[in-house]
Symmetry: C2
Subunit: 403 residues, 2 copies
Amino acid sequence: MSNNFARRAELVKASEVRELLKLTDVNEIISFGGGLPAEETFPVEEMREICNEILSENGAKAMQYAISEGHIGLRQIIVRLMGEKGIIAGVDDILITSGSQQGLDLSGKVFLDEGDVVLCESPTYLSAINAFKPFYPKFVEVEMDEDGLIPEELQKKIIENRNIKFLYTIPDYQNPTGRQMSLERRKAIVDLANQYDIIIIEDNPYSELCFSDNKLPPLKSFDTEGRVVYLSTFSKTVCPGYRVGWVSASPEIINKYILFKQGTDLHTNFFAQMQIASFFEKYDIKKHIERNISIYKSRRNAMLETMKKTFPKEVSFTKPNGGLFLWVTLPEYMNSKDLLLKAMKKGVAFVQGSAFFPNGGHENTMRLNFSGLTEEKIIGGIEILGELLREEVRNSKINVQII
Amino acid sequence: MSNNFARRAELVKASEVRELLKLTDVNEIISFGGGLPAEETFPVEEMREICNEILSENGAKAMQYAISEGHIGLRQIIVRLMGEKGIIAGVDDILITSGSQQGLDLSGKVFLDEGDVVLCESPTYLSAINAFKPFYPKFVEVEMDEDGLIPEELQKKIIENRNIKFLYTIPDYQNPTGRQMSLERRKAIVDLANQYDIIIIEDNPYSELCFSDNKLPPLKSFDTEGRVVYLSTFSKTVCPGYRVGWVSASPEIINKYILFKQGTDLHTNFFAQMQIASFFEKYDIKKHIERNISIYKSRRNAMLETMKKTFPKEVSFTKPNGGLFLWVTLPEYMNSKDLLLKAMKKGVAFVQGSAFFPNGGHENTMRLNFSGLTEEKIIGGIEILGELLREEVRNSKINVQII
């Protein structure tokens, strides 16, 4: 029997993060591979009360079909949240999605025809690559540094390429690097988008998880032409298992998202939308997020301090001021795939950095997650990695002497 | 500013059902337009207890990221449910989806390249058309009669067309016609698929809602070659607001669905999956469904009896033995769009039948839903429609006399 799959069925590969997640279910591995928020941050008891109340008073509504746009009360809350960030939007400019991931799938549907160019940071979010790939785009990577995407590099790539559909960017504590785009660059990049008539897909799941005083306004807040599509989620502020996120865009654009949402899953779980809306209405979300931040900040500190102590000086890494991830660059001669195999034998896992480059390469990089493990496990795991890395560096020097 | 949408953004139109749904929120209209299950059938009190238990004992798991394949306990329940229908599958052959609608979107992703042929019943499910359209297929409609899709017509269309990717069929109480495919035809159609090496997407959301003794096995139960992809949902047996459905297919095929699921929304709301699994474990689902059936059967009876009394003999309609819908064929000279405008002025809505034909036409048809309204409202609404139809027939005869 021939299966006759679409061409795209050959393009999308199993996510190594997910495959690792499966592994970590069965083995006693310290995994820096996933991107799991800390379970301690989930408002379990609050949700128990909220569920009880919704199902006592409003159960049939929670269980019935609902409009694709999403729960009106939740959209009003999002209007307020975005207003605090300087984004002016109305409830009709917002579509509730099944996680921010669905915002990416819908972005592909709305904008991408075969051969269209997607500009993105180099590296970029692995599952964004997989969300866009089914629509056969060409990925053009734009260089970044500690201050995020470099506007001059972006302009160069814009000039060099045709059929550019959008720039995909994660300005805050980017997945995978943990980098935060500077204020000047945010403005410069919106200016470039205006100048060259380009759409920006701004993916902003981590902005609330800010460990410093340097909270920056989203690119969307500088958008005067309705060309920035803003994606975010409750996965990092409430919990990811509910799969509730949102898209905000100009009326003309959001209407296309809504139409494709209908064909994709009709609407997002309505009970979950009601629960999150109720959580924001009844509880002090700022205090809740502050508590989350203090947990993540301690874990980041534990990771960075252990890395400084145990990683050889040949290995460099980012020092994120927020989010869930940091990024490690190994000496050119090292391969993170080989390292991963060795590390897993010693009970430690991470994600190879090459997975985050849509056009491949960069085998000497890796992503580490610091949100999902206790400080004790982080310290233990990083010490194992450090020992392994020192050994690798030592061996390479011996090899050089032998040659 | 140019928006640079993908070509597909022009193909997908607002669902008139959904737009009507919005209308019915604000007006006091009797709408036969939606496809809402009866709220009385939702196990609200049971779910209140279940939520309380899950969040007391297992809250963090309900709120955390989970594997794309879905909750293992729920997949075991599905294995059992399908086993009762004669489908032999293991948990690894099942993917939990965000409603059966997502199964359609993923089917498009897995199989359809531009220009590929989708064979479907004429008429077929409106939101399946919208789910497949983004992948630019060509729809080839196959004639049906009271016993469902006609195998001889299917064979003719198979021979006439190239690049056929799959047959999409709803064998039980089809949306929109309410027709049930006969046993002989089920076997004959699987035989044709084997003979011509074609995949079948069997969409089976309504099979549990059977009002007669004539429950028939799914096409998938006759599949000896792993070429039937089976889609179903808990929307009609538990509730639709949770958006939990599933796909079952051979290992090679289901693995492609899982990969695309990851890029689409990572996984389906995990708390909802746990709730449904717990509902099946703790309660007598057969008794629950029997109660649902008795409600729907009474409503169907109320609709059919009032139609027999009030519709003019020039109007014909199906008499479904299950599901949520029936199908009305008006005299050729009537246009259901004109009729809808007139009906809405009198406080009644339905969906124009033409929306269910991917290649258009059939302006003299309409779909009526009998599940979402009380018997009283059904009788009242059908009487208004009947009066309007008699008036239309009368007017046409006067016009003929004048000419």
